[in-house]
Amino acid sequence: MGHDHGATVSPSENMEAFLNGLWKQNPVFVQVLGTCPTMAITNSARNAVAMGLATLFVLVFSNMLISMVRRLVQKQVRIATYILIIATFVTMVDYIIKAVSIDVYKALGPFIALIVVNCIILGRAEAFAGKNPVWQSILDGFGMGIGFFIALFCLGSVREILGAGTLFGFSLFGSNFQPWVLFLLPSGGFFTLASWLLVFAWWKERGKAKEAQA
């Protein structure tokens, strides 16, 4: 995919850069990357949304800056440079979340700082932003970020609905509902992720079968 020659990029290539992360190469459901924060903070839909937005912000801006300086960065120091840029945007997002909502900041805890070592972000820097033009790198960041956001929300909402009987704190089943607390615990996270992976695998197989029939 890499073409670092500053030539114009067709709209279809731009669209492909965006859609790749969203669906075909979804970081959690297809590449199974970033599972540590995925498990740790998806015990409620609100935390999942906050972490998804924080990661989206870091992905888009770090991809943009890395792509802007890609011609200047020597290969010997590229990883150090990427980490420095990623850490900068993580620090910024840390301040922003603290300014917007202390409750969300407390809920996400150390996982905000750990976005620095989220392999999705460094992976996109190395595999895409360091080799591609700025606009395409931004779209790739958006695609991967929204893909990660969707995955976190899928997990967070299921875990909150089953584990607490609520969604975004609003009660769904009334006072007689007996919550499955297991879903709020780490084991529930693994179980939910496995179920979603199963759904995705089934979907993929179904598509393949349809293609074969056609």
């Binding site: 800056l65 300086v69 200047l72 960065v73 020597q74 010997q76 120091v77 150090a80 440079t81 420095l84 840029i85 850490a87 900068t88 945007f89 620090t91 910024m92 301040y95 922003i96 603290k98 300014a99 917007v100 909502s101 202390i102 407390k106 805890g109 150390p110 607390v181 709020l184 615990l185």
Partner: protein, 219 residues
């Protein structure tokens, strides 16, 4: 002697240092700008949470005064979060009568430092409310110290006269007013709460007693 010659494709170190310097400068500017822009709302949020906690711990408090405590135990009224040292929060009813004083404290728990605020009543010489403000204890076990009703009932009237040290005792064995009944399965966190209260009361209650008339006047 075996010497290694520099590789031909290796750029000079000065170029690498220069590059890292420029990138660091850009990153530094971004961080400092964000810090400056978010500092005021962050402090504002922290003060709101603090004020809500004080109101929760001292029900009926219509007015709050925040005192900073300096190294020699002297008090000064502080506004906002500009005071870096320990603080006391006095709560007053609608007629200006002192309801109690909220004290902050911290102690190492199982996973990390547990931070809490508790209300001290100078009239009763007792702790009359307790709230955990920060904890990273094990979910389902240690984190019960912030929600377990039986455990929290320890702090409705816990002796803080300083005649006896506040201690955590085994679950179900509390006999005296200065004892904290531990949660079964969360002994380390429960003990940390006992130590937190003992340490903070030992430090702050003498300060409150020495300055009680001033705190009652609210100046």
């Amino acid at each position: 002697m075996n010497t290694t010659a520099p590789r031909a494709d290796m750029p000079p170190s000065s170029a690498l240092i220069k590059l890292m310097g420029v990138v660091s400068l850009i990153c530094g500017l971004l961080i400092v700008t964000t810090h400056q822009q978010t500092l005021a709302p962050i402090r504002h949020n922290q003060e709101i949470i603090l004020s809500e906690t004080v109101a929760e711990l001292l029900p009926g408090a219509k007015k709050q005064v925040s005192y900073g405590v300096d190294a020699s135990g002297n008090l000064s009224i502080v506004e906002g979060a500009e005071f870096a040292g320990p603080r006391l929060f006095a709560g007053y009813d609608a007629y200006g009568g002192l309801i109690g004083v909220v004290i902050e404290g911290g102690e190492r728990g199982y996973a990390d430092v547990i931070r809490a605020m508790f209300a001290y009543s100078p009239q009763k010489k007792a702790i009359v409310g307790f709230k955990v403000t920060e904890l990273k204890e094990t979910p389902g076990l240690g984190d019960k110290i912030s929600s377990d009703k039986k455990f929290l009932s320890n702090f409705k009237d816990l002796d803080a006269s300083l005649e006896h040290p506040i201690v955590t005792v085994k679950s179900g064995t509390k006999k005296n007013r200065w004892e904290v009944d531990a949660i079964s399965g969360a002994t380390i966190s429960s003990r940390a709460v006992g130590r937190l209260l003992q340490k903070s009361t030992k430090e702050m209650i003498p300060v409150i007693q020495r300055n009680l008339q001033r705190i009652e006047r609210g100046n």
